[in-house]
């Protein structure tokens, strides 16, 4: 992605929305970037990781989103343009800092990118993050395309400086993970050389200061109300005297616009770019003489309810269609079909193509799964072996290891959010007689597992705390973290020891084991279960996807003469390279990475490497 550093105004390039966001920041002269990875925002960090040093800015993977928000806030307070980005639920983690940051505001521009995930392609919920803009009085922009995302990030820094407030840019998967043609503007040199001018009345949020800073925030937002009326990202397209008026923002706008062009629909669309504060006069003008209005926005009726309130003032007879009327759902992302379904109830138009008529087949579902060679599978297998007939409660967490929820492992019983495995495990241990496990990864441990560990030791919870250390942040694309010995800039870093941290917190039972040695791992878990209080077990083995870049092992095969078709390998261990046809089990040689875990599981030594 070195192309992003080219100072070639006018150049057209195909960029992922997330790469376009990076380019926008570079065109604004960003000096500080911080994040914790999370889909669909991760590629923003992955891209900065590759170019930050050469560009001359500072970039870090913070331990969590709250830290990312706070470091970026301090940079902006010191006069350095900064950006913090995260997925929508990451904003929840950072929100404590964010709500008060709005009171003190910023000096240099600060942009916050909150990447939503309607339809939950890779998330635990699909909350509509736009409501944070109201909760915190945060100016908000909603881009619709990669090009607009780039422009809005760049403009966001200017707006932030004009208002002295951080600016929220709210994206969704179909912007972050859309790839489109983006036109470069001039590159700016990285901002730097910050100096913090002290101003405690502004930057120290004690009550006597906050009572003065809250009204200041409201004054700033009053200024924003004027700016939003003139935003170049808010515009209307369509015909005069339309049959239907439409108000839209975000990814939903793309589909309604496309339908308008494709079917030559007699509609007029007001596309809103800055949606907090809402451009009240612009909206009023648009709906004043309208008869029918459709509101197109994904998830909650954020705009719809405000528009309805405005309609009461200026056009009480206006029919407003949207979520309340049943034309749209509050669930999941939109697509061309959902837009056309809504439109077909409101106006006449003919769909062009009929889908093929096909016979029904029961197609097998294909959920994502733990990779062949994944060390987590061995850990889960060992836990269940150690438990034997006893019932375990498995408190899970956010990461690849959540995939243990599937057959045949079934090692996820409860999950809320990043770090929740540990607090919930404590709650289960205090309120049930069941044997409780918390499963979380190394990166998640640093993110939010550490305070929960301290709390658990203090309150004398009793569970097995399994920190599945695969030496990376795997699910989001292998970012470094405080335990990897490498920073986001690629520099060497202190390698924090999970063992030392656990011992330092007062845990007596701390053991590290390579889960590839399944027998020993079972033995460690047997002892951990017997131990009273919190026992920390750290199954430590590199993520298979990383390890397989370095090593090549011969695939295994099943000796059909030795195989007794007991199906322990498929029904208890369940590596995806093991394929069952009838009673016969075979190994898919393309998928098998030769880790040999299944060979350890086989009681009849029927799984062998070629030539051995």
């Amino acid at each position: 992605m070195k192309e992003l550093l080219e100072d070639e105004s006018g150049k057209k390039i195909l960029l992922l929305g997330n790469e376009a966001i990076v380019r926008g920041a570079l065109e604004a002269g960003i000096g500080h970037g911080s994040t914790y990875p999370g889909t669909p925002s991760s590629e923003i960090g992955n891209t900065f990781e590759k170019i930050a040093k050469e560009y001359g800015m500072y970039f870090e993977y913070s331990a969590n989103e709250k830290v990312a928000m706070e470091t970026a806030a301090a940079a902006a307070a010191s006069g350095v343009r900064s950006m913090a980005w995260m997925k929508h639920v990451g904003v929840n983690v950072a929100s404590d800092a964010l709500m008060t940051l709005m009171y003190s505001g910023v000096r240099a521009g600060m942009v916050i990118v909150a990447a939503g995930d309607p339809s939950m392609h890779s998330s635990q919920n699909e909350q509509d993050t736009r409501f944070y803009s109201q909760l915190g009085n945060i100016p908000m922009l909603e881009p619709t395309t990669p090009q607009e995302a780039k422009e809005m990030v760049k403009y966001g820094f200017e707006l932030s400086e004009e208002l002295e407030l951080p600016v929220l840019i709210r994206t969704t998967t179909r912007v972050n993970h859309a790839r489109g043609v983006v036109t470069f503007d001039d590159l700016q040199e990285a901002d730097g050389d910050g100096h913090f001018e002290k101003d405690p009345a502004r930057f120290v949020a004690v009550p006597q200061n906050s009572v003065r800073n809250h009204p200041k925030l409201l004054e700033r937002m009053e200024r924003a109300e004027k700016i939003t009326e003139k935003s170049e990202y808010t515009y209307s397209i369509g015909v005069e005297n339309p049959e239907l008026h439409v108000i839209s923002s975000g990814a939903g706008f793309n589909y309604i616009r496309e339908a308008k062009e494709e079917f030559d629909l007699p509609i007029s669309i007001l596309k809103l770019g800055m949606t907090n504060p809402l451009p009240i006069d612009t909206v009023k003008d648009f709906i004043e003489d309208a008869e029918r209005l459709l509101v197109v926005e994904e998830l909650e009726p954020f705009l719809e309810e405000k528009v309805k309130a405005l309609a009461k003032e200026v056009n009480p007879s206006l029919d407003v269609y949207g979520k309340k009327s049943g034309h749209f759902s509050r669930l999941y992302e939109y697509n061309p079909d959902r837009i056309k379904d809504a439109l077909s109830d409101l106006m006449e138009f003919e769909r062009k193509e009929e889908p093929l008529e096909t016979e029904e087949h029961d197609l097998p579902i294909r959920p994502p799964s733990l990779c062949p060679g994944c060390p987590h599978r061995a850990t889960y297998y060992a836990v269940k072996k150690a438990l034997g007939d006893r019932e375990g409660v498995f408190s899970s967490d956010i990461g690849c290891y959540t995939l243990g929820v599937q057959d045949p492992l079934n090692t996820a019983d409860y999950l809320l959010c990043m770090g929740s495995s540990v607090g919930a495990a404590g709650g289960f241990s205090k309120n049930t007689d069941q044997q409780v496990f918390a499963f979380l990864g190394d990166s998640t441990f640093f993110h939010s597992g550490l305070p929960a560990l301290v709390s658990g030791v203090y309150n004398q919870h009793d569970f097995v705390y399994v920190i599945m250390d695969n030496r990376t942040t795997a699910m989001t694309g292998h970012q470094p973290h405080p335990g990897t010995g490498k920073t986001g800039m690629g520099d060497p870093a202190p390698m924090l020891s999970i063992e030392d941290l656990a011992r330092g917190a007062g845990v007596e039972f701390v053991e590290t084991i390579d889960p590839y040695d399944i027998e020993k791992t079972i033995e460690v878990f047997e002892r951990a279960i017997e131990h009273d209080g919190i026992s920390v077990v750290i199954p430590k083995h590199p993520c298979a996807l990383i390890e397989q870049r370095e090593v090549r092992w011969e695939p295994y095969q099943i000796d059909q003469e030795e195989c007794k078709q007991c199906h322990i390998c498929t029904d208890r261990f369940g590596c995806i390279a093991l394929v069952r046809e009838g009673d016969e089990v075979m190994i898919n040689e393309t998928l098998c990475v030769g880790c040999g875990q299944c060979a350890q599981v086989c009681p009849f030594d029927a799984i062998k490497q070629e030539g051995k």
Binding site: K12, I13, L14, L16, T39, P40, S42, E43, H121, S122, T145, R174, H177, A178, R179, G180, V181, A251, N254, Y255, R257, E258, E261, N335, P336, D337, K340, R351, K352, E353, E354, P355, L356, E357, T358, E359, H361, D362, L363, P364, I365, R366, P367, P368, S369, L370, C371, Q406, D407, P408, M475, G477, T570, D571, G574, I576, V579, R580, N588, T590
Partner: protein, 203 residues
């Protein structure tokens, strides 16, 4: 020009992102507008991957509706069938026949249908514009199974639906694969292209 919609489907790890970038890159070079949706994150761990590529003078959204694909390019036969409602009678359905059996089948929760006796006959019944090819075998002939995705690009190019010709796509392959693998990938492209032309001649 009329907008061209491609629905590319398969399984995480099959090189679908590279394929869509080959096509998108070639279109951009020709001065066309391109808009694509990609899949990153959890689904890449062996889940279903659906990528849409839209090319035209001006493209407004990255997704397509039912029946709107000009080509459904399936890297895996069951995934082709899962995406079939994106196709109409006008759509070319181009599918690899090499199955990737999901683990839900291996652990006995689900059944994988017969490609030869169920999926392909159903596709044949539904449409005349069908190309089936064993991309894995062709990729191995070209040098390595990993070039399956480029075999599929060859097959796609052979349908003549793209506003891009053979040499424009080949140049984009050179831009998008590591230098030492270019020859092998060009060979893979030719194999997919030729096989598809042969099949189309017989239709």
């Amino acid at each position: 020009m009329k907008r061209v919609n491609l629905e590319i489907v398969g399984v995480g790890g099959q090189g679908i992102l590279t394929s869509s970038q080959v096509i998108g890159g070639a279109a951009l070079k020709k001065g066309l507008d391109v808009y694509m949706s990609e899949v990153h994150g959890m689904a890449q761990r062996g889940g279903v991957v659906v990528t849409t590529v839209k090319i035209g003078e001006e493209v407004y959204s990255p997704l397509i509706g039912k029946g709107e694909a000009d080509v459904v390019l399936g890297f895996e036969p069951v995934e082709t069938y899962r995406a079939i409602e994106q196709a109409s009678k006008k759509t070319w359905v181009v599918t690899n026949t090499t199955p990737i059996v999901p683990f839900t089948v291996s652990v006995g929760d689900e059944k994988y249908p017969s490609i030869e006796h169920e999926i392909i006959p159903s596709l044949q019944k539904a449409t005349d514009k069908l190309v089936t090819l064993d991309a894995e075998a062709l990729a191995k002939e070209a040098g390595a199974a990993i070039t399956q995705n480029i075999v599929m690009i060859g097959a796609l190019t052979a349908t003549d639906v793209l506003p891009l010709n053979e040499s424009e796509i080949k140049r984009s392959i050179e831009d998008n694969v590591p230098k030492k693998f270019v020859d092998m990938n060009i060979k893979a492209f030719d194999k997919g292209y030729q096989r598809t032309k042969d099949i189309m001649d017989q239709l």
